[in-house]
């Protein structure tokens, strides 16, 4: 009996449409922790389908890192090939397949930064999988036959990334390489066709970490300058509705005002709803799509 066989199964029918939809080369990966914050496998429902822009943006912006999805930058020159199977040859000349070869993915991120490299390095440390968006905009997932779209499991111990410095002929790039888990069978790969999706590859992007610097703080309010942690670019357009203040660990509540500076990009003046007492502790809680304000939230201030 060959590998991947079921003793009770007969031969299966081989009807094939004239023009079957097929996967194309990968253009973006969405890395997903294997388990969510509740300890359940991260997955998307298929019926009704949760593979839509609203669900994915909610996942990408999830406050808990275990619930969060992590889209990569767009990748190029992807090669995703399975090694030849391991075989045993007998004296008769008969060759039996012992196991399938491992499937290895190698992708490049053109103009990837060293800061990004640091973030990618963290992915080798825990179990995760990946959804794939291909060049045709199809959303590729792993089907276990239970009505859910799973990320394709990555063998995190094989995950490797490196910086490829610019040369006279090539720009700086990041190289990402991993093996898919041996348990992931090619015949279980499925995809939601681009025509059925309400998003495209440009809609799904990873979050920026944000760092805040306080100044002019008093019992009445403070000034906060927000910049991306890795690139020090100002974080603008944070609106009053995006901000809450928690005082002495109490439930977060809206401030009286939150005003963006007209002259300094990323600088905001905040006034508390009511005056604090000297020594009161407060945290600024901000949420805005596309940014991770966890370090700002954790940065407790004293009035």
């Amino acid at each position: 009996m060959a590998i991947d066989c079921n003793c009770n199964a007969t031969l299966q029918n081989l009807g094939s449409p004239d023009c079957p939809p097929v996967m194309q080369i990968a253009r973006k990966f969405i890395f997903v922790p294997r388990y969510d914050a509740q300890g359940n496998e991260n997955r998307l429902d298929l019926d009704p389908s949760n593979i839509n822009k609203t669900t994915l943006l909610t996942k990408i912006n999830a406050s808990n890192s275990l619930d969060r999805y992590y889209p990569t930058a767009q990748v190029d020159n992807t090669e995703d090939t399975r090694e030849d199977p391991v075989t045993q040859e007998f004296n008769s000349g008969k060759i039996i397949t012992v196991r399938e070869g491992a499937r290895t993915n190698t992708s490049f991120i053109p103009l990837g930064s060293t800061q990004e490299l640091g973030h990618y390095k963290s992915f080798g440390c825990s179990e995760f999988g990946a959804y794939v968006i291909d060049a045709g905009g199809n959303f590729i997932y792993y089907d276990k036959g239970d009505g859910h779209a799973y990320p394709i499991a990555v063998d995190n111990e094989t995950f490797y990334c490196s910086l490829m410095k610019a040369t006279d002929a090539e720009v700086q790039m990041l190289m990402l390489r991993w093996q898919w888990r041996l348990s992931q069978k090619d015949q279980n790969l499925r995809f939601a066709e681009a025509d059925t999706l309400d998003f495209d590859i440009d809609d799904l992007n990873g979050l920026y970490n944000v760092t805040g610097t306080y100044s002019a703080a008093s019992t009445a309010g403070f000034t906060l300058t927000l910049k991306t942690t890795d690139y020090a670019t100002p974080v603008t357009d944070i609106a009053l509705a995006d901000v809450n203040i928690s005082v002495n660990g109490a439930a977060a509540a809206a401030p009286a005002s939150w005003t963006e500076s007209a002259t300094v990009p990323g600088e905001y003046a905040c006034v508390f709803a009511s005056a604090l007492s000297a020594g009161d502790k407060y945290n600024t809680i901000i949420s805005k799509e596309g940014f991770d304000f966890a370090s700002v939230t954790a940065d407790e201030q004293t009035a």
Partner: protein, 54 residues
């Protein structure tokens, strides 16, 4: 999500519900603007007249 009603006066973005409840001492400490305080007080809903008892 609860909708925030924003009040923009003199370039400041106020949370209308919150700023209408602010104490004057805190308001003046934060903004130091009596005219702005007066302008905001005008936005407070007027109390309903008491019903006359029969």
């Amino acid at each position: 999500m609860k909708k925030v009603e924003i009040l923009k006066l003199k370039g400041i973005s106020f949370n209308k519900a919150v700023v209408l409840k602010m104490k004057k001492s805190h308001f003046m400490q934060a903004y130091n603007d009596e005219d702005l305080w007066d302008e905001i007080q005008k936005l407070k809903p007027k109390p309903k007249p008491k019903k006359k008892s029969a």
